[in-house]
């Protein structure tokens, strides 16, 4: 009996010792990095959010939830939220279908496809700030794109970036232009991973081009589409670098996103407590979306 017990217990004990060794060696560095660079700053931001603090010394003026109170009903912040929503809508309804369409065209082994893939991908490689600056010149009513049109039609120059009703469409155009190539590349990769024989078999069975797309390509591209939607939304929520050089949030604060709102109303005004509160709200929205989306849509991927 004792021998049986021993042979039964030993493997278990050895396994757990191995597990512990792995845990002791590999967990602390990761945990330390995560704590110092992720968890602590977040906890700190949450703590600052309860203070009226200008960034100097330690926060002292505790004001409870007032910073969050300022956000409720604040027209500029609401507008920033709406703008973030608009970017998401345009990304999902315009950018992704367009990227998929172009990807279908350039994914095949046609002559010149690689060149077009590269051309469409180029804007994504460009730094966001540079893109914003370039488009600021492009939208200028005096010498940019609108001036070509107004000049040809003999109209007065039109300054899109100074028009409070339409300036945000400039941001949307740049976002579309800039990130479309990235999503196209995702789809190209997905398309190239699809087994050709499936499509050929369907064709032999008499499936039309649309039927092949609808019943073979699209389902097999599912994981890639779900990933691309995820990137789109998270990217849209965090959009910042393009806004600053392009519009600076203006005119009349109509083109801010949540992050540029945080920057202009928290950091540049040295209201670090208030900015932290905005950061916490942004964080909650992002985390809720990320976890919710992964649970609902990306379970099987």
């Amino acid at each position: 009996m004792p021998t049986v017990e021993a042979t039964y217990v030993e493997p278990v004990r050895r396994m757990s010792a191995n597990g512990w060794a792995t845990l002791v060696i590999f967990l602390p560095p990761a945990l330390l990095l995560f704590t110092v660079f992720v968890a602590l700053p977040m906890a700190e931001a949450a703590w600052y959010g309860f203070y009226n603090w200008d960034g100097y010394n330690r926060p002292e003026k505790f004001i409870g939830l007032k910073n969050y109170g300022y956000l409720i009903g604040n027209a500029t912040f609401t507008r920033s939220l709406i703008n973030n929503g608009l970017i998401i809508v345009v990304s999902l309804l315009v950018q992704l279908p367009l990227a998929l369409g172009v990807a279908m065209m350039v994914a095949g082994r046609i002559a010149g496809a690689a060149v077009f893939r590269m051309i469409f991908f180029l804007p994504y490689v460009l730094a966001d700030v540079a893109a914003g600056l370039i488009w600021r010149f492009m939208f200028d009513g005096g010498y940019g794109l609108p001036s070509v049109i107004t000049g040809a039609l003999g109209l007065a120059p039109y300054y899109l970036l100074a028009d409070k009703n339409w300036a945000f469409s400039a941001v949307l155009i740049v976002v579309l232009w800039k990130y479309f190539g990235f999503h196209m590349m995702l789809y190209v990769a997905g398309l190239q991973g699809i087994d050709k024989s499936l499509l050929e078999a369907a064709e032999m069975d008499g499936a039309t081009a649309f039927q092949r797309f609808r019943h073979i390509t699209l389902p097999l591209l599912g994981p890639m589409i779900r990933l691309s939607v995820f990137f789109s939304v998270v990217g849209a929520l965090q959009l910042f670098d393009i806004i600053v050089p392009l519009t600076g949030g203006g005119p009349f604060e109509t083109t801010n996103t949540m992050v540029s709102y945080l920057y202009y109303f928290g950091i540049t005004r040295m209201r670090v407590g208030f900015g932290s509160a905005v950061g916490v709200v942004l964080f909650l929205i992002c985390v809720t979306f990320a976890f919710g989306y992964r649970r609902l849509f990306m379970r099987d991927d």
Partner: protein, 417 residues
């Protein structure tokens, strides 16, 4: 081999020891974009390094917005500069309250006696000196003489706000864009609002508002200033698309002769050339300077000036050499050199005689004769209220906000800080 080892070791050791023995480094952090000004500063630093063995003064540059955003963190780290650029005002008070600034009252008394008292006072907190000014400036209308002539406007006839509005109307009628303004960055528009406030309410206007007298910022002066600003903007005097124009672009528009006036600080003179399409801008003789007009019934005088006062603040942990360099920097001979070549107006008395540029000279004369000098509102009030003033100036001008709502927004921001 052995010898080579020894030599290698010795050199290595020397490399470690020498800087440690020799150099007390004094870092000076600034935001100046003016190449002439930087050249003068570099020269002063080099002179100091050459004559003071064991001390090394290093000038470091940060872009304006980056400087403002980074400074609070820098001051709390061990990377803090020893001397740094300041506009005095609200930010300086916050820095002092947080205990980052050194009290240098006794150290710099000798150099400060040579300086303009208003500039010196700007760097005092509760009577204690925390910094030394180096330049003063004035915001004024720069105008294009040829465009004025074309529209039949005589600058010397513009004395009151109504004269000014008439001039704007005449320029418009002659097909000239009367004013170029970089309202995309907002602060250029706040010059109009601030000047109107001090012309209407006089020298106590801002102090009274801060003290909460007669409703604080909601008082009649601020509301009236907003109304006057809207009255001007309603004539549509600004270049098309002014809401998205930066101040750099605006200076180029003026330099290209596409607008007759620009209300700006003295730096416009260095900016209008490089930012114009030709790269040359207007020749100096075609530019005139016009003081901000008086508002009938207002308490302010035509000789009250609005403009910045810039100086150096000393951080608490700065070595004694930093203060020593500051005194070296403030010598009259360097102020005279700056006046002659630096493209700015030094605060050392008598240095204005060395100014060669007639336009800068005119500003220096205004400042010498000033009846009251007001620091920029956005600097005076600090970043949180200051930026609100900038925002509402643009909104009021564009008719997006009523003068009453604007005044209330400033008061709200003031209460929240």
């Amino acid at each position: 081999m052995k010898l080579r080892h020894l030599a290698f070791f010795t050199v290595g050791l020397a490399a470690l020891i020498v800087p440690a023995l020799a150099d007390t480094t004094v870092t000076v952090l600034h935001v100046s974009d003016n190449p002439d000004q930087k050249a003068v500063w570099e020269k002063i630093a080099n002179d100091y390094n050459a004559t003071h063995k064991g001390v090394k003064v290093e000038l470091k540059y940060l872009e304006n917005e980056a400087f403002k955003a980074k400074l609070p963190t820098m001051l709390q780290s061990s990377d803090r500069p020893d001397l740094f650029y300041s506009w005095s005002g609200g930010v300086m008070h916050a820095q002092d309250k947080a205990g980052f600034l050194k009290d240098i009252t006794a150290d710099v008394a000798s150099v400060e006696s040579e300086m303009s008292p208003t500039a010196v006072d700007a760097f005092k907190v509760d009577g204690k000196v925390v910094g030394v000014p180096f330049e003063v400036g004035e915001v004024a209308f720069y105008y294009n003489k040829k465009l004025f002539e074309k529209a039949g406007v005589k600058a010397e006839d513009i004395k009151s706000w109504d004269d000014f509005l008439d001039a704007v109307k005449k320029l418009k009628a002659a097909g000239v864009t009367p004013i170029s303004v970089g309202a995309g960055e907002k602060w250029p528009m706040h010059f109009y609002y601030s000047y109107l406030v001090i012309r209407i309410g006089g020298e106590h206007a801002l102090a009274d508002a801060k003290a909460g007298k007669d409703g604080g910022f909601k008082n009649a002066t601020f509301v009236e200033a907003g109304k006057r600003l809207r009255e001007l903007a309603a004539l549509e005097p600004f270049q098309p698309g002014y809401l998205s124009t930066s101040h750099t672009q605006s200076s180029g528009i003026f330099g290209d002769g596409k607008a007759a006036m620009d209300l700006m600080g003295q730096w416009l003179l260095q900016m209008q050339g490089p930012n114009s399409a030709s790269g040359k801008g207007l020749p100096e003789e075609d530019i005139g300077i016009l003081s901000f007009p008086i508002v009938p019934g207002g308490k302010g005088k035509a000789t009250d000036t609005l403009g910045g006062v810039n100086g150096w603040l000393v951080t608490k942990t700065a070595p004694p050499e930093a203060v020593d360099f500051l005194k070296f920097f403030s010598q009259p001979k360097y102020a005279q050199e700056a006046a002659a070549h630096g493209g700015y107006i030094p605060v050392v008395k008598g240095s204005e005689a060395y100014i060669t540029d007639p336009l800068v000279k005119r500003l220096a004369d205004d400042l010498a004769k000033t009846t009251y000098h007001q620091n920029f509102f956005d600097q005076d009030l600090g970043p949180s209220v200051g930026r609100v003033i900038n925002d509402v100036s643009v909104s009021v001008a564009a008719g997006e906000m009523t003068p009453e709502a604007a005044a209330a927004a400033i008061q709200d921001a003031f209460d929240q800080q």
